[in-house]
C-alpha cells in the first residue's frame, strides 16, 4: 500500500471503498436487469443486446451508469460540497426549463426530450437538493432548531418540490418528504415524526370510520395519556392535551374537505381502492389487482425464470418500470421476493452505518439524505405493488427500467461512497 500525494499536497492512504455497499448495489442492478429482461421477454426478441428492446436499452443504461460510477469515484468529495449551491441552482433552473420544454408522458410533464434520450430533471433535483441541504446543515453556525434554520431548510426542500408538483409529478414531489429523516437525525424535533404518524392515522381512520367514533378514539387516547401514562400532571400537560384534542378534531373534520377538494379525482380513487371502499378491478383498481394476482400466483418458490404467465401476457401495466416487482413476485416466488426485501433493507441499513461513521455533518447528512430518498422510493413502490400504499408512480431504485433514475441514483450513491472513502482523511 503505497502512499501518494494528492493535489492539495496531503499524503493519503489508498482509498478504501466500502465494497459491501458496492456489492449490494451491483446485486440490485443485475437482478433488476434480469427481471426487466423477463418482463419484456418473448420468444421473438430474446437477444440480450438488441437495442430495440427494453432489456437491450437498459443494458446500455447499466453501462452508462457504470461510467458515471467510475467517473464519480475519481471526483474529489470537496468538489461536491464546494459546488453544492451551484448544482442546486442549476437543478432549479432545469426544473423551470422543464415546465416549458417538457413532453407529456403519462399525464406528467416532467421529461425533457433530448432526441436520443429522454431525461427527467426531477431525478437530478433530488441529488442537488440533498447536496444543498447537507451543505446548509453542515455549515458551522446553522442551528436546525432555530426558526431561521428551519425556514431555510424547508425552503431548500420545498422550492424544487413545488416546481416538480407543477409538472404534475406528485410521486417525485412526495419523495422530498424523505428529507425529514436526515433532519430528524440532525436534531429536528421528534414531534415532526409523531405528528406525521398521527396525521396519517387520523386521515385513514376519518375516511374509513364515522367521524364521531374517530373523535372518541382520540379522546380515549388523550385520557389514557393523561391519567395512565403521565406520572405527574402539570397544568402545561393538560393544556397540551386539550390543544392536541382540539386540533385533532378539526383535522378529522377537515379530512373530507381535503379529500374532496385538494386531491385529484384519480388520487381519491386510488386511496378508495387501497382502503377497500371501491373494488373496481377493471378500472382504477385494475393495476393493483393484477399486480396482486401476479405476485400471489408466484406461490412459495415462484413459476421460474421467464415462466410468468401474468407478467408475460402484459396483464400488469407498467410492469418493467413501476410494477417491476410483480415479475420478481411471480417468477421468484415468496423466497425470491423476501430475499429482495432483505437485500434492500440490508443495503439501506448499510448506508445508515456508513452515514453514522462520517465525521463531517455534511457527509453524514448527505448519507442520510440519499438513504432516505432510496428508502421512500422503496417504501412507496413496494407498498403500492403489494397494495398497502396508494398507487403513486415512482420507480424502484436500481431495479425499474429507465436511464435517468438509474444514473441519478448511481451518481448519488457513488458520491457518497467516495465521500465515505475519504472519511479518515478529514480533520
Amino acid at each position: 500500500m503505497g502512499r501518494k500525494i494528492n493535489r492539495y499536497g496531503e499524503g493519503v492512504t489508498r482509498l478504501k471503498f466500502d465494497w459491501t455497499t458496492i456489492g449490494l448495489y451491483l446485486l440490485l442492478v443485475v437482478f433488476g436487469w434480469v427481471n426487466i429482461y423477463a418482463a419484456c421477454y418473448n420468444e421473438a426478441t430474446s437477444a440480450l443486446f438488441d437495442l430495440s428492446t427494453q432489456q437491450g436499452k437498459q443494458m446500455l443504461w447499466v453501462g452508462a451508469a457504470a461510467v458515471v460510477a467510475f467517473v464519480t469515484l475519481y471526483v474529489e468529495p470537496r468538489f461536491w460540497s464546494n459546488t453544492a449551491y451551484i448544482i442546486y441552482g442549476l437543478a432549479l433552473a432545469l426544473l423551470v426549463l422543464t415546465l416549458f420544454l417538457a413532453v407529456t408522458v403519462n399525464g406528467g410533464k416532467s421529461w425533457i426530450d433530448l432526441g436520443f434520450f429522454r431525461f427527467q430533471p426531477s431525478e437530478f433535483a433530488k441529488f442537488a437538493t440533498a447536496l444543498a441541504l447537507a451543505k446548509y446543515v453542515g455549515t458551522i453556525d446553522v442551528k436546525i432548531n432555530s426558526l431561521k434554520g428551519r425556514l431555510t431548510a424547508i425552503a431548500i426542500i420545498l422550492v424544487p418540490a413545488a416546481l416538480i408538483l407543477l409538472q404534475h409529478d406528485t410521486g417525485s414531489a412526495l419523495v422530498f418528504a424523505a428529507f425529514v429523516l436526515p433532519l430528524f437525525r440532525e436534531g429536528l424535533t421528534k414531534y415532526v415524526l409523531i405528528f406525521a404518524a398521527v396525521a396519517v392515522t387520523l386521515f385513514v381512520l376519518a375516511l374509513v370510520l364515522n367521524k364521531y367514533i374517530v373523535m372518541g378514539i382520540v379522546l380515549a387516547g388523550c385520557l389514557v395519556y393523561l391519567f395512565l401514562w403521565l406520572n405527574r400532571r402539570t397544568r402545561k400537560s393538560y393544556i397540551h392535551t386539550i390543544v392536541f384534542f382540539i386540533i385533532s378534531c378539526l383535522f378529522v373534520f377537515s379530512v373530507d374537505f381535503a379529500f374532496q377538494k385538494v386531491l385529484e379525482p384519480h388520487q381519491r380513487e386510488r386511496i378508495d381502492v387501497l382502503l377497500g371502499k371501491t373494488q373496481d378491478f377493471k378500472g382504477v383498481g385494475y393495476n393493483v389487482h393484477q399486480s396482486k394476482i401476479a405476485i400471489g400466483s408466484g406461490g412459495i418458490v415462484g413459476k421460474g425464470f421467464l415462466k410468468g404467465t401474468i407478467t408475460k401476457a402484459d396483464f400488469v401495466p407498467e410492469q418493467e418500470t413501476d410494477f417491476i416487482f410483480c415479475t420478481v413476485g411471480e417468477e421468484w416466488g415468496f423466497l425470491g421476493s423476501a430475499a429482495l426485501m432483505v437485500i434492500y433493507v440490508w443495503f439501506l441499513m448499510r448506508l445508515v452505518k456508513l452515514a453514522e461513521r462520517q465525521r463531517s455533518a455534511f457527509a453524514r447528512f448527505y448519507g442520510y439524505s440519499i438513504m432516505s430518498i432510496l428508502f421512500i422510493h422503496f417504501f412507496i413502490n413496494i407498498g403500492m405493488v403489494l397494495g398497502v400504499v396508494p398507487v403513486i408512480g415512482i420507480p424502484l431504485p436500481f431495479f425499474s427500467y429507465g436511464g435517468s433514475s438509474l444514473m441519478a441514483f448511481t451518481l448519488m450513491l457513488f458520491v457518497f461512497i467516495k465521500q465515505d472513502s475519504y472519511r479518515t482523511q478529514l480533520l
Binding site: 377493471k282 396482486k292 426485501m341 439501506l348 422503496f378
Partner: protein, 620 residues
C-alpha cells in the same frame, strides 16, 4: 463537534426494519397463505382450446365415400376482453347488424364474461379467409376450428341421419359432451355415435391481456391430441340408392333392398326424402324447421316407421304357416267364392302355387281359417285362441310383430295381434276366426313395417332363414364385424314349402294370369308378390320380390302410398327397374324408366288430405 442526537440512528434503523418486516409479512399473506390469486391467474392467463376430432367417415359397399368432413370455423368471444372496438366497423366486416351484435354479445356475456363462448357458429372457409386479416383489430375475438358433415351425393338421408348440437338430456346422460358439441341425432350417426365421435383433444395456451395466444402453456405438457372417429363401412350401394331415390322422387312410399344371403341393406329409401346437406351448417336450424313443418313429412322414415297393412304380400307368409302346420297341402285347392271375401275375376286356384300367382282372396280366407280353427277344441272361441297363438309364433319367427334390430334408430315393430289384443277389444271368449279373418289377406289388425316386408322377400329367397337387416358391415381400421348381424335366424319352416312360394312368386311375374307382370326384367328370373293395401284414400301399392330365382342376389319391398291402381301397377315395375339396375348395372328399358320416374301416382289427391301416417286397413 458534539453529536447530541446519535441515538436517533437507532430510531431510523427501527423504521427500516419495521417496513421490511411489514412487506415480508404482506408477501407471505399474498403468496403463501392464499390460493385465490393462483386460480385467478390461471383463469385469466390460460385458455383451454378444444380440438375437435374429425368424425368418422362413412363408405358405401363399394368403397365410395358417402360422408366426409369439412372444416368450418366458430368465431369465439371472451366478452371481458372486448374493448375499444369499432362496433360499426366490426358489424360491417362480418356482415351482421348492430342489433345482432348486441344480442350475440349479451348471450356470450350471460354464459360467462371471462371465458370464451361462440359468438357466431360455423363460419365458412371463405368468410374466415376474408376476416382473418381483420380479426387482429378486434380484441377478445378468436376463431376455433370445427368440422361439418358433407355428403358428396345428396342421398340416403334416412340411413345416414344427421348430426346436431348436443342437448341437455344428452349432456346429462354422457358427461363426455359439453355445451356446443355435436352428436348424432338420427340414422347411423346416432347408432354409431360412440364409434364416429372420436376423442376430443385439448390445447392449453397462454393468452395475453388482449386474449391473444402467446404460446403453449408449459411447452404443451397439458395438451392432448384428438383421435379421429372410426370409419364405417356401409352396406348401402350408393348407385342403387341414388337410382331408387330417383324412381321414388315424386311419390310417397319407400324402398328397402336387401342382400338375402347376408341381410345387408343395399338401398333404403323413404320418399319424399331430403338432401342431407340441408341439415348441416348454419342454416341447419332453419332447414330443419322447414322440413319438420312440411306436410309430406320428409323427415319421417317410412321404411322403418311406417306401419302399413301389408296387403296381399302377406299371403305368402300365410301359405308357409299353413303348409308347415299341415292344415293344407301344396296341392290343396279352394274355390274362389266371392261371398266369403271379395276378389277379382280369375279361375279358382288348384294349388298353393296358383293361389299365390293369382292372389286369390277366398283361397287364403280358407287357409287362414284352417290355421286359426284347427279343431283342437270343440269350443270355436278357445280353438281360435289356440290357433292365433300358434300363427303368431310363426309370424314372430319371420320377423313380423317385432322390431327388427336394424342399426338405424326408432324402427317400429308393426303389429301381429295376440289373444290379449282381441280379448281387450271384444272380451275373452267373444271372438273367433270370423271376427279376425281380414288378417288372412293382410288387412285387418295386422300391421307391417316395409323393412319386414323386404325381410319376408329375403326369407323366401333364402328358403327359410334371414339375417337381421343392417346398414353397416364393419368398422375401423381392422374391419371389426358387428356380431349380431352375422347370426342366422331360422323360421323353423321346411325349406321345401318356400320353394313352392318361390315358384308361385315366379308365376306372379311370368305366369299367365299373374298379377305382377310389370316387374319382369328380360333375362332375369324375377320372383314377386303384389299387394294392394286398402286404406283411407287410394290403395297403397305394394310389391315384394327377389331375383334371380335361384341364388338370389337381391330381395326388396317397394311400397307406394295412395297409388292409383294396385301393387302390379306401380310397385312392381319400380321393383323391376331396381332389380335390373342392381343385377345388370344399367337399365336398358329407358322408356319404362322414364315413365315411372316422371309420373306421380298420387297427383290427383288433394294435397291437404295427405295422411300423416298410414292408417289401419279397413275392417270388414
Amino acid at each position: 463537534m458534539i453529536d447530541r442526537y446519535s441515538d436517533r440512528a437507532q430510531v431510523i434503523k427501527a423504521i427500516l426494519i419495521a417496513v421490511g418486516a411489514i412487506f415480508v409479512i404482506r408477501l407471505a399473506v399474498l403468496q403463501v397463505f392464499n390460493n385465490k390469486y393462483k386460480s385467478l391467474a390461471e383463469r385469466q392467463s390460460l385458455r383451454n382450446i378444444t380440438i375437435y376430432p374429425a368424425r368418422g367417415l362413412v363408405y358405401d359397399r363399394n368403397g365410395e365415400l358417402l360422408v366426409y368432413n369439412d372444416v368450418v370455423y366458430d368465431l369465439m368471444v371472451v366478452p371481458r376482453s372486448v374493448k375499444n372496438i369499432d362496433t360499426a366497423y366490426f358489424c360491417r366486416s362480418i356482415g351482421i347488424t348492430r342489433e345482432e351484435f348486441e344480442a350475440y354479445m349479451q348471450k356470450a356475456r350471460n354464459y360467462s364474461p371471462y371465458t370464451a363462448s361462440p359468438f357466431m357458429k360455423q363460419i365458412t372457409k371463405e368468410d374466415y379467409a376474408r376476416w382473418q386479416n381483420l380479426l387482429y383489430k378486434f380484441d377478445g375475438f378468436y376463431v376455433q376450428n370445427r368440422t361439418l358433415r358433407v355428403y358428396p351425393k345428396p342421398i340416403a338421408a334416412h340411413v345416414l341421419g344427421y348430426v346436431g348440437e348436443v342437448d341437455e338430456a344428452e349432456m346429462e346422460q354422457n358427461p363426455r359432451y359439453q355445451m356446443g358439441d355435436y352428436v348424432g341425432k338420427s340414422g347411423i350417426e346416432k347408432t354409431y355415435e360412440e364409434l364416429l365421435c372420436g376423442k376430443k383433444g385439448r390445447r392449453v395456451v397462454r393468452v395475453d391481456v388482449h386474449s391473444r395466444e402467446i404460446g403453449p402453456y408449459e411447452n404443451g405438457a397439458h395438451d392432448t391430441v384428438p383421435v379421429a372417429g372410426e370409419k364405417l363401412y356401409s352396406t348401402i350401394d350408393a348407385e342403387l340408392q341414388e337410382y331408387a331415390e330417383r324412381l321414388m322422387a315424386n311419390k310417397r312410399g319407400c324402398v328397402v333392398a336387401l342382400e338375402p344371403s347376408t341381410g345387408e341393406v343395399l338401398a333404403l329409401v323413404s320418399a319424399p326424402s331430403y338432401n342431407p346437406n340441408l341439415l348441416v351448417g348454419r342454416t341447419r336450424g332453419e332447414n330443419y324447421l322447414t322440413l319438420l313443418r312440411d306436410i309430406s313429412k320428409p323427415l319421417y322414415n317410412r321404411a322403418l316407421q311406417g306401419q302399413y297393412p301389408p296387403g296381399s304380400i302377406f299371403k305368402v307368409a300365410q301359405a308357409m304357416i299353413a303348409l308347415d302346420l299341415g292344415v293344407i297341402t301344396p296341392n290343396s285347392g279352394f274355390v274362389c267364392d266371392k261371398s266369403l271375401v271379395g276378389c277379382h275375376n280369375h279361375p279358382s286356384a288348384r294349388s298353393v302355387q296358383e293361389a299365390i300367382k293369382m292372389s286369390c282372396n277366398p283361397y287364403f280366407y280358407q287357409v287362414y281359417r284352417r290355421v286359426i280353427q284347427q279343431g283342437k277344441y270343440n269350443n270355436i272361441y278357445k280353438d281360435s285362441q289356440y290357433g292365433l297363438t300358434v300363427w303368431r309364433n310363426y309370424m314372430l319367427k319371420m320377423g313380423f310383430g317385432t322390431a327388427l334390430d336394424i342399426d338405424i334408430p326408432n324402427v317400429k315393430s308393426g303389429r301381429i295381434p295376440d289373444t290379449a289384443y282381441y280379448n281387450k277389444w271384444y272380451g275373452a271368449g267373444k271372438w273367433a276366426f270370423s271376427t279376425i279373418y281380414s288378417n288372412s289377406i293382410g288387412q285387418g289388425e295386422v300391421e307391417v313395417v316395409p323393412l319386414q316386408m323386404a325381410n319376408l322377400a329375403a326369407i323366401v329367397a333364402n328358403r327359410g332363414y334371414y339375417y337381421i337387416p343392417h346398414v353397416v358391415k364393419f368398422y375401423g381400421e381392422d374391419s371389426t364385424k358387428i356380431e349380431k348381424y352375422y347370426e342366422r335366424h331360422e323360421t323353423g319352416i321346411d325349406p321345401q314349402y318356400f320353394d313352392i312360394a318361390a315358384k308361385g312368386m315366379y308365376d306372379v311375374v311370368h305366369g299367365a294370369g299373374g298379377t305382377g307382370h310389370r316387374a319382369d326384367v328380360p333375362g332375369i328370373a324375377v320372383c314377386g308378390k303384389t299387394g294392394t293395401a286398402e286404406n283411407y284414400g287410394n290403395d297403397h301399392s305394394v310389391f315384394i320380390s327377389f331375383a334371380p330365382m335361384e341364388d338370389p342376389k337381391i330381395a326388396l319391398a317397394v311400397y307406394v302410398e295412395n297409388a292409383q291402381g294396385g301393387g302390379g301397377t306401380w310397385a312392381a315395375p319400380i321393383s323391376g327397374l331396381i332389380i335390373e339396375k342392381y343385377l345388370k348395372g344399367e337399365v336398358q328399358r329407358k322408356d319404362v324408366e322414364k315413365m315411372y320416374e316422371e309420373v306421380n301416382p298420387c297427383q290427383k289427391l288433394p294435397l291437404t288430405k295427405r295422411v300423416k301416417k298410414p292408417k289401419k286397413g279397413r275392417r270388414r
